[in-house]
């Protein structure tokens, strides 16, 4: 079953189209990367999923049901613009936010204490948020996002403001949540996060979805049949079927070359041909990184 299906959602503001017939399907128990440049419409889409604003047209279903106010407790949302009540104590704050999501007082209190203990921040319980550091407040906010055990968690730029230690802690929590059956939507610019964590991605640019699929699938689509070859000594490639895109000297007369294989040839044939003319030390397919795919697509769209 799909955790979330977005079907031809359109949202128009007075002066511009924020979302233009965007459709997505997010598999259950996946980590889904929602990518796109600033102003592409990601936040609008997330707000529509959170029922903060309504779409002009299109439908959304969550775990097979049409999205409704009763699903508020099903979703946990960490907005990009973090914020908590500054004057409220950590414990009170977490319980209040959880109760707004529909938990009973005792339930909220119990879960809250468990998380506080897990994050080893028990001594913060009766501290006011304004007395916490930014990183500490982020932890509290992360707890508030997952406290009510949502099945769908939406994290907008989750790692901004975290030091590497805390980022790792949060990463571990996210993976644990996924293993417990949660579906997680990441909205982020940080491609290394996408590379490391996401199984599925969608790219939104200029209000339209321009790419969607599993990470492997996407990479498959955007592989360009280029290979990185490390050789001893430089060489010139004048054989038909190949194209030498780049050649850079490394240390000790080693060279790094990027070769594109045109149609009608194969990697094996290239290796054979190369061994004739030089000493090959390594030969790997140059798989595009998510960052490269992102940049090429977004730039392409702008042209």
């Amino acid at each position: 079953m799909e955790a979330l299906t977005v079907n031809e959602v359109t949202k128009r503001y007075t002066n511009h189209l924020a979302l233009d017939q965007v459709s997505l399907s997010i598999p259950e128990q996946s980590i889904f990367g929602l990518l796109g440049p600033n102003g592409a419409g990601k936040t609008t889409l997330i707000r529509i999923i959170n029922q903060i604003i309504n779409a002009d047209s299109g439908t959304i279903s969550i775990f097979g049901e049409t999205l409704d106010t009763k699903h508020i407790g099903t979703i946990g949302y960490l907005p990009e613009e973090r914020g908590l009540y500054k004057k409220l104590k950590v414990g009170e704050q977490l319980i209040y936010l959880a109760r707004l999501k529909g938990l009973s007082r005792s339930d909220a209190s119990e879960k809250c204490k468990a998380w506080i203990k897990k994050f080893e921040i028990t001594e913060w319980w009766s501290k006011k948020v304004e007395d916490l550091s930014k990183g500490m407040a982020q932890k509290v906010q992360f707890i508030s996002t997952v406290l009510h055990e949502p099945r769908l968690i939406i994290l907008d730029e989750p790692f901004s403001g975290f030091d590497p230690v805390n980022a790792q802690l949060i990463t571990r929590e996210i993976l644990e949540l996924k293993n417990k059956g949660c579906t997680i939507i990441f909205s982020t610019h940080r491609m290394e996060t996408v590379e490391d964590l996401c199984d599925h991605i969608a790219l939104i640019d200029n209000s339209k979805k321009i790419l969607e699929g599993s990470k492997k699938q996407v990479k498959e689509t955007y592989r360009s049949n280029t290979f990185r070859v490390e050789t001893k000594g430089g060489f010139k490639l004048s054989l038909a079927g190949y194209e030498l895109l780049d050649q850079q000297p490394l240390e000790d007369s080693y060279y790094n070359s990027i070769i594109k294989i045109n149609d009608g040839s194969s990697p094996n044939k290239l290796i054979r041909d190369l061994t004739e003319i030089t000493e090959v030390h390594s030969f790997v397919e140059k798989v595009p990184t998510m960052s490269e795919i992102f940049i090429s697509l977004v730039k392409g769209g702008k042209k």
Binding site: I52, D56, Y77, P79, G83, Y85, L97, R99, S144
Partner: protein, 433 residues
């Protein structure tokens, strides 16, 4: 538990648990009377201790006989020009009074020379001294016996009895004026203070960005109403405490002076031995006070506070949601303030002077001005149909402003760094879900 109730509860506890709430609630009813008492005390002391000013006079008419009750008059021997010259270099004396030779029937040309501009009080008392002396001279001239004249002076004070409702109620328009003024001013202050708090709270929520988390859990309208109602309940609690506090305090104070509480006075026989009871004016005042239906006034005050607060609170909420900082909010508060100011000035210009005039009636029915205007009128007695019409239109009024505010609020709280003007707000208002 209903989420709106949860927000109301949170908002209520947030405010009530603060020390500032406790301090304001306990001190405010004490501060105002204390300030008044201090000012009155100072002015009484000042008058008592004031040294009499020395005034030199040149009397060419020969009628003036110095009176020493208010000034120390000293005759200057010489003509007025010499006197003026001498006076210019004299810092010890207050003024130089010149009375030219004059006709008693039309005394003209009396002049007071001073080195500083005199206050109206000084000039007034000097005029009175002269008037009294001239009158006495005239009486002698016309052969009128002073006793006859005194017997002509009669002191009339009209006792006002209101027959409405079939029972006789004595009333004193001065007391009613005072009650109306106090109620009107308090209403103005409270609507402002609480309205500004609503705005403050919403700006805080918006700038701390917590609002996006909250409205992913509740509808923005629920959040807005929760906040408004939560603060209203704080206001009601505060009033309740004040009423209890003031009633207790005034019974203690009145008890100290040997008086009964006005409310209790009707039931209890007054003790004729107490010294204040022998003063007919005090008696009359207390009698009037006892005629004012305090429960009725308080009930209406609470109703109009709630209604007016909800009406203006919604508007303040809309402004708070649109702006990014309190400074930015100033320009949008002005138009909200205008109807309040109209009611406030109307209170002093029409309503208290003529509580049953057309303008007063309309001001107390139009929902934007009615909370203040009606409180000005309420003690004078308002026909039931006017009160009912006013209440219904106030309810309709706050439903309207709440609806308008809700539409601006839902868009405004998510907008950051937008340049706001009325056109933008109108656009938000029109925007569909």
């Amino acid at each position: 538990m209903n989420k709106v109730l949860l927000i109301i509860q949170r908002e209520f506890l947030n405010r009530v648990q603060k020390k500032s709430f406790l301090i304001a609630t306990i001190l405010l009813p004490l501060i105002f009377p204390a300030i008044m008492a201090v000012l009155v005390y100072i002015s009484v002391q000042h008058k008592k201790n004031a040294t009499k000013e020395v005034v030199y006079f040149v009397d060419d008419s020969g009628f003036f006989s110095p009176d020493t009750s208010r000034f120390i008059f000293r005759r200057f021997n010489g003509n007025i020009d010499d006197a003026k010259n001498a006076f210019q270099y004299d810092d010890a004396s207050y003024g130089l009074l010149y009375i030219p030779s004059l006709e008693l029937s039309s005394p003209r040309g009396i002049t007071l020379y001073t080195n500083v501009s005199p206050g109206p009080n000084e000039v007034g008392s000097m005029e009175r001294i002269l008037e009294d002396q001239i009158r006495e001279l005239k009486m002698i001239k016309f052969n009128i016996d002073k006793k006859v004249l005194d017997s002509l002076n009669t002191n009339v004070s009209i006792q006002n009895v209101n027959l409405a409702g079939g029972e006789e109620k004595t009333s004193d328009s001065n007391v009613l004026f005072g009650v109306g003024m106090a109620c009107g001013i308090m209403m103005y202050m409270f609507i402002f203070i609480y309205g500004a708090q609503i705005m403050q709270g919403i700006i805080e929520e918006k700038t701390s960005k917590v609002v996006e988390v909250i409205i992913s859990s509740v509808k923005s309208f629920q959040l807005m109403m929760g906040k408004i109602v939560g603060l209203a309940s704080v206001g009601l609690l505060q009033f309740l405490i004040w009423i209890v506090l003031i009633t207790t305090l005034s019974s203690i104070v009145l008890g100290y002076f040997g008086l009964e509480m006005p409310q209790q006075q009707m039931m209890n026989e007054m003790s004729p031995q107490s010294p204040a009871m022998q003063n007919p004016q005090t008696l009359e005042l207390l009698n009037t006070m006892s005629q004012i239906p305090f429960a009725y006034v308080i009930f209406n005050f609470l109703f109009y506070f709630l209604g007016g607060y909800l009406l203006y609170g919604a508007l303040f909420a809309a402004v708070g949601s649109a702006v990014d900082s309190p400074a930015e909010a100033q320009q949008f508060m002005f138009p909200i303030t205008i109807p309040m100011l109209i009611a406030y000035f109307g209170l002093f210009t029409f309503i208290l002077d003529d509580p049953h005039g057309t303008i007063s009636i309309w001001l107390s029915i139009i929902p934007f001005t009615s909370p203040i205007a009606m409180m000005g009128r309420i003690a004078f007695g308002v026909p039931d149909w006017q009160l009912a019409l006013s209440m219904v239109s106030l309810i309709a009024g706050f439903m309207l402003t709440t609806w308008v505010a809700g539409r601006i609020y839902r868009v405004g709280i998510l907008m950051h760094g937008t340049k706001i003007n009325y056109k933008v707000m109108a656009k938000w208002f029109m925007m569909k879900g």
